[in-house]
């Protein structure tokens, strides 16, 4: 799509309704291995994450990657694995208490059930990690 086509598309979208531009984003790092290296059902976790993020924020896209993290609690070992980052574009008004509670419940559940050392997420370019998972 060239710039004029892009501009036209934006104008068209704007003329359809009172659409608030989505200028923020949130990304969830979905693991493929447990902390000890046992493989996970990555596709299921990714699919569940996409489903939840789409429900909360209107849509989600998964990007595949390969990453590592430093497990400071287990001898400072670098652990690497294939991951997916599920990203949703968001508006400021979508960051509500209820959505936060819903997403929090899911992230902590993923941390517990997938036996993770950490769960990572990005919000508007800032990276966070959950190390202590709360019970349901």
């Amino acid at each position: 799509m060239n710039d004029s086509e892009y501009s036209s598309k934006i104008d068209m979208i704007g003329s359809i309704g009172n659409l608030e531009p989505k200028d923020g984003n949130i990304g969830i790092f979905v693991p493929s291995m447990e902390r000890d290296g046992t493989p996970l059902d990555h596709e299921k976790w990714r699919s569940d994450t996409i489903h939840l993020m789409s429900s909360l924020f209107g849509g989600a896209t998964a990007f595949e990657g390969f990453g590592g993290w430093l497990d400071e609690e287990q001898g400072n070992k670098v652990k690497s694995e294939a991951i997916s980052v599920v990203v949703s574009f968001i508006t400021a008004s979508e960051l509500t208490e209820k959505k936060k509670d819903c997403l929090k419940k899911y992230l902590h559940k993923m941390g517990r059930e997938a036996k993770q050392g950490e769960i990572g997420y990005l919000l508007n370019g800032i990276f966070y990690r959950i190390k202590d998972f709360e019970n349901e």
């Binding site: 934006i10 990007f63 208490e97």
Partner: protein, 150 residues
Amino acid sequence: MNKKAKDKILTPQEFAEGLGGEKVGEIPNFSIDPIGLKFMATHIGKRLSSQGGRPTDPSWKTIRKVPMKNETWKRLETIAEAYKEHAVSIAPGQLAGIALEYGLPQLTEQDEAPRALLENCLSQSTYTFPEHEMQEARELTSVAKQSGIW
């Protein structure tokens, strides 16, 4: 009748911290960097087409003389030369025209589509560049910034 409790809107920080995570760090916004240069080379390459002569952008209808320092022209020549390594043949003057298109919205805050397109594509790039390529691009980026092109 009970009214449904209003769902309180949180700040990004409240939302992120409310998920239970600790902040680790911030990813800096891409200005122009190795990924940006690669994107720009690809984007520029797609814009230029030839009908027998030098490749050009058919939307370019206006040609004007633009005063500039010798150093600025030399830097345009350097950057144009760098794009050849990404298989994009562009003249320094053409590069100046494109730089104006991307630079002007920062001054006028209008026509955000090209800027949004750039930022959108940059944020989704997963390409990993060799270190020597990144170093060279950083140097070119610095030159471009100092000259006010980017």
